[in-house]
Symmetry: C2
Subunit: 409 residues, 2 copies
Amino acid sequence: MKNVLVGQSGGPTAVINASLYGVVTEALSHKEDIGHVYGMLHGIEGFLQDRYMDMGAVLSPDELELLKLTPAAYLGSCRYKLPEDLTSPVYKTIFEKFAALDIGYFFYIGGNDSMDTVSKLSRYAAGTDSTIRFIGIPKTIDNDLIQTDHTPGYGSAAKYVASTVREIVLDATVYKQKAVTIIELMGRHAGWLTAASVLARKNPHDNPMLIYLPEAPFEMEQFAHDLQSALEKRNCVIVCVSEGIADRSGTFICEYGDEAAVDNFGHKMLTGCGKVLENFVRNRFGVKVRSVELNVSQRCSGMVASKTDIEEASSAGAAGIKAALSGENGRMIAFVRTSAPGEPYHMECRTVDVNEVCNQEKPVPLEWITKGGSDISDDFAEYALPLIQGEARRIMKDGLPVYLFRDAD
Amino acid sequence: MKNVLVGQSGGPTAVINASLYGVVTEALSHKEDIGHVYGMLHGIEGFLQDRYMDMGAVLSPDELELLKLTPAAYLGSCRYKLPEDLTSPVYKTIFEKFAALDIGYFFYIGGNDSMDTVSKLSRYAAGTDSTIRFIGIPKTIDNDLIQTDHTPGYGSAAKYVASTVREIVLDATVYKQKAVTIIELMGRHAGWLTAASVLARKNPHDNPMLIYLPEAPFEMEQFAHDLQSALEKRNCVIVCVSEGIADRSGTFICEYGDEAAVDNFGHKMLTGCGKVLENFVRNRFGVKVRSVELNVSQRCSGMVASKTDIEEASSAGAAGIKAALSGENGRMIAFVRTSAPGEPYHMECRTVDVNEVCNQEKPVPLEWITKGGSDISDDFAEYALPLIQGEARRIMKDGLPVYLFRDAD
């Protein structure tokens, strides 16, 4: 009987803890095969400093249920990249620590970089007599992992974006005057989250009227042309942009705001593309304009999480345990959409080779980006809508959401 | 039998439509006294252009229920200030339009400026043979109206701030490294919303560790000292600041970022105090730092609205109709807290002289601002907690909130 070691890595999402819940509860249900379920604190980096907790011993069933609904990474996260050179002594150290804890099953919940960690550990193990099974559980709001229909975390973030954009449309259109609102959304390289803003529309000609993703080049003059047309149709135009939009030369639009921007203390101001576009529109069009950056709530709003996403994230964690127990190793849990378009949505977990997933990115298909790069097709909506369905249970006390906090470091 | 005219003015809130719902449903229930219930589109400014709708005729009962849960201003808003000079011909024009629609009761839902409109119209009417009764229904997320315990709109905004700050605390503390997160909250002159961030804490020594309101002067060196102390206690420090914090000279902190900040197009960048503090902290402390501006969702989040606030806002609208029917004129609906501290919360509506309310501001009491201006007292929490209680009903379709949209202008 071996023990489980599980960790979280990379940026938080609303459901990375739901995957942790899935790993822990499924592991605890296999009393014949699994002993302790250890959680690394701050991922592999913390584990190297012997920081871990016995999750089954520490957390009560009620706390586990709360964990499932708590955004961000309960165990703490890290951005630690293992050396490319598998002969580095750090691997020997890690495997000694695995042996000391009698680890038989290793789970890492994260995005690209975390899958890279799973890949390296499993490849290192292959050159030793280790029998530990290494499994990756995907998570990223960016939805940019390949070989999976979508990633846990994306559905909740997309639901937050679509709901919030719909509310901002209501807010931005109360006055009669010509006005432009620019909403900057997360996504450096992939526009999946920004694309979700199209779901905020009530009808095809509605706000947000313009949507720009990093997958298509963003040219200021084309934007001015698109905006001019939109302002001829409506007084209030809402524009949604990915933080990572860039022009044909590959220069991020946000970089155009950086160089000359220095505050009174002489410090360089870091400004996003929303502010750059706000200034551009103000000067070119002379209309009222505001930019809004949705910021970290996109990835940590438990109040507007998707029930589908939470359940799928949990099932991905549980599938990880089952895969490991059945002998799989060096694999990542992936989602397969088994329903055809038009049919009721159905998803199943499978496993894929983690080595093929890591360090790759899945962009939004170019054929889903329409109207010269300023709109999103209905095919995207058909893809994304099932992922935002259902409301997460909210446990409230004194009018505020109750979450599971670990004592601060 | 006379008709009702109702309008919305000033910035949106999550519950200004709940007050409209209260006015409309209460008015429609007095069939013996009230004929039509007209809604001005874009407030008094739109009414001057004969823009109004017959709300009882247009909205179904289901749509009225949806109105109650819809954030922002359904009728549209304006920022139109009536002339100080009551002999201005615009007053005669307005009252001719009132007469043409056989208006007997006038309701204006808004903040300071809207109460100024109610004051002026009622004072003008006093010099004529008009029998129209003018009633103000308060609303502002800023909570800065005098002669009322609090304002409709504040409870939902405070709940949004406290919930979201709690989630951002979870998000910001996943990594081990020293880090500072600065959250910029709405409030130019009054710190009520920023004070609500204290409710996000689980215990008194918890994040957000530092909270700064515009009521107390903000000095950079004192802030550096406060932050140094906080960073000695915890790796991750979350700081909440009002957008309107200013130093002893009266200069807004955000102004320190303005002058030298010019983007590559040669345009001046408008930057908030959060960005200014972010740059200050990065350069002074050399730690990881990020600033987050919660932005318009503070005033338009229907998903995280307070049920107490929605019900109170609705009751304020209904109380307006009752006051007008009982003969009151030139009054604003106000809230009185009839429960003593420690007792179960209870609130009643009364009316106050609108002339005494308009153009005044209620700051956070200085005795509620503690620790040299960097914290908020328990007295504030006792005051604010009842206002954020209860969850608004959410009507969802396809995973997104359903709101009542008026066809765009």
